[in-house]
Amino acid sequence: MAGAAGGRGCRMIRGAQIRDVLDAAHNVLFDCDGVIWNGEAAVAGAPEVVRLLKRRGKRVFFVTNNCTRPRENYVQKFSRLGFTDVAEEEIFSSAYCSAAYLRDVAKVQGKVFVIGCPGVLKELQDAGVPVAEQGDEGPDVSVYNLPLDPDVKAVLVGYDERFTFMKLATACGYLRDAECLFLATDPDPWHPLRGGRITPGSGSLTAALETASSRKATVIGKPSRFMFECISSQFDLDPARSLMVGDRLETDVLFGANCGLATMLTLTGVSTLEDAHELQQSESPEKKDCVPDYVVESIADFLQALEE
């Protein structure tokens, strides 16, 4: 196991080496975007890898910062892309975990003001957490005299295509009360789209609200530990026997390090091997925590280790 002096290994592995890593892991946690699929296309071999891992008795979980869909939509996507027998309970999105946090950890008594998309609203609804009306329609409403609902006890911010200055001002109004909780679904500053484009992420909207309110959000998504604690509360995971597989060093790998998991970078998504080596050279402990134990070109490389 990596020590403080040596740092994590960042070892490119294949074949028998992968088999050894998988043998040591009872639980395998996969990020989704850039790991098992890219947009609407499964990473070649990924569905077979998941099937084989389960056949070998591993528990498989999917941990994604993507807060745009409710879990039932994810189940449909898995099915559509050829992943058979992925159950809803195995899917942990930042939207689902934010709702779980509000209900079970914060035990919020009151409504939540949400800056987010329908996926987040659905998860809150499913969790029985009441959501405040948006309230930004109407002729008398302006940023200079915002109607605030006295029942709001928490603000949750995440990716929102309908984000406006009005929503920012409203959320800021609620956060003036120090007792009002401040949560963010995930810290991702941008997300990759098809064709090499990127789009602003939850992190950029959260940054605006943190600046406006002079407060720091409690971030639910990776690299924060909460999503792991959420999974653990339902499935009792031993970090020492768990492997995190992701494509973003500062999100997935750092998450793994924060939770005491073994970490593996796959090169089918955002981060490159150069990125990993650059972080390895860094003096900063936080940057060093973004260095993975292992690197694979694609999770399809597991097939050789699993098929025998």
Partner: protein, 307 residues
């Protein structure tokens, strides 16, 4: 010399001495000479007397929602005799920065006010993007929005029409590493009448910086540029200039960085305790936010000017 005598109350003879030692006085606006539309009592008289005594007076504001002409109108309406060329507001200074410092040849993608558009046009820079702009249709449509190839800079100022779509467009333009990113200021709140506030430009700049993973060049206080802008047009000697402001982290820091004398007035954001806290800290960054002098209000300068 200054270090020992920092943050002293400015009374009687000291005020006279200070005013005699300067040729130019630079005033912040919000929290110094007015609060929203309410004049700080005595402020207009102070400015008018300073001018009568042959001092040059300038107004420096981070507020990007008005042109210098609009500010001159407001100043006149509230009883301060002032002309547009005495005003240095960030809408104007950003346009000057892009023109003179960046040598911009091309358009600007503007997240900002109509006033900013006007100031850009005054220096011959065209903009795209001002006004409402919302996402419509599916992600496949709006994410692939066509970009104007002539845009060479993104400028972010106060914008009530700020939206995800505008943030997205800014991000697309900034994918070109040669596209500049400029912000008018980083104030977190825009002060309004009655002590209310709305989120300030700093939030919008932060959103763009976070998405694009790079830092903006910020024009407004405490960046030096606001002072350089005044000095370039009027040839000021910093050692014979006084900065009067209500915020330690913008006004006073600007003054100290540029070698001006500094006066804190307590009619706005910062408190005496804030200033003393910085002074006791021993931290060089914080020490730069300690004013030379403070007054409860600029009206305290009147006796020195009237005598």
């Amino acid at each position: 010399m200054a270090a020992a005598a920092k943050c002293s109350r400015l009374g009687g003879p000291l005020a006279r001495q200070l005013l005699d030692s300067v040729d130019s006085v630079l005033f912040d606006c919000d929290g110094v000479i007015w609060r929203g539309d309410q004049v700080v009592p005595g402020a207009a008289e102070v400015i008018n007397l300073l001018k009568r005594r042959g001092k040059r007076v300038f107004f420096l504001t981070n507020n990007s929602t008005k042109t210098r002409k609009m500010y001159a109108e407001k100043l006149t309406r509230l009883g301060f005799g002032a002309s547009a060329d005495e005003v240095f507001a960030t809408a104007y200074c950003s346009a000057m920065y892009l023109k003179s410092v960046c040598g911009l040849e091309g358009k600007v993608y503007l997240i900002g006010s109509g006033a900013m558009r006007q100031e850009l046009e005054e220096v011959g820079i065209q903009q795209v993007g001002v006004g409402p702009d919302l996402v419509s249709g599916g992600q496949a449509d709006w994410a692939a929005v066509p970009l104007d190839p002539e845009v060479k800079a993104v400028l972010v100022g106060f914008d009530e029409h700020f939206s995800y779509m505008k943030l997205n467009k800014a991000l697309q333009y900034l994918a070109d590493p040669d596209c500049l990113l400029v912000g008018t200021n980083t104030d977190t709140r825009l002060p309004l009448e009655g002590g209310k506030a709305v989120p300030g430009t700093g939030c919008l700049v932060k959103a763009v910086e976070t998405a694009a993973q790079r830092q903006a060049h910020v024009v407004g206080k405490p960046s030096r540029y606001m002072f350089d802008c005044v000095a370039a047009e009027f040839g000021l000697d910093p050692a014979r200039s006084l900065m009067v402001g209500d915020r330690l982290d913008t006004d006073i820091l600007l003054g100290t960085s540029c070698g001006l004398k500094t006066l804190l007035t307590l009619t706005g954001v910062s408190t005496l305790a804030d200033a003393e806290g910085h002074r006791e800290s021993g931290c060089p960054v914080r020490m730069a936010m300690v004013p030379d002098y403070f007054v409860d209000s600029v009206a305290e300068l009147l006796p020195a000017l009237q005598g």
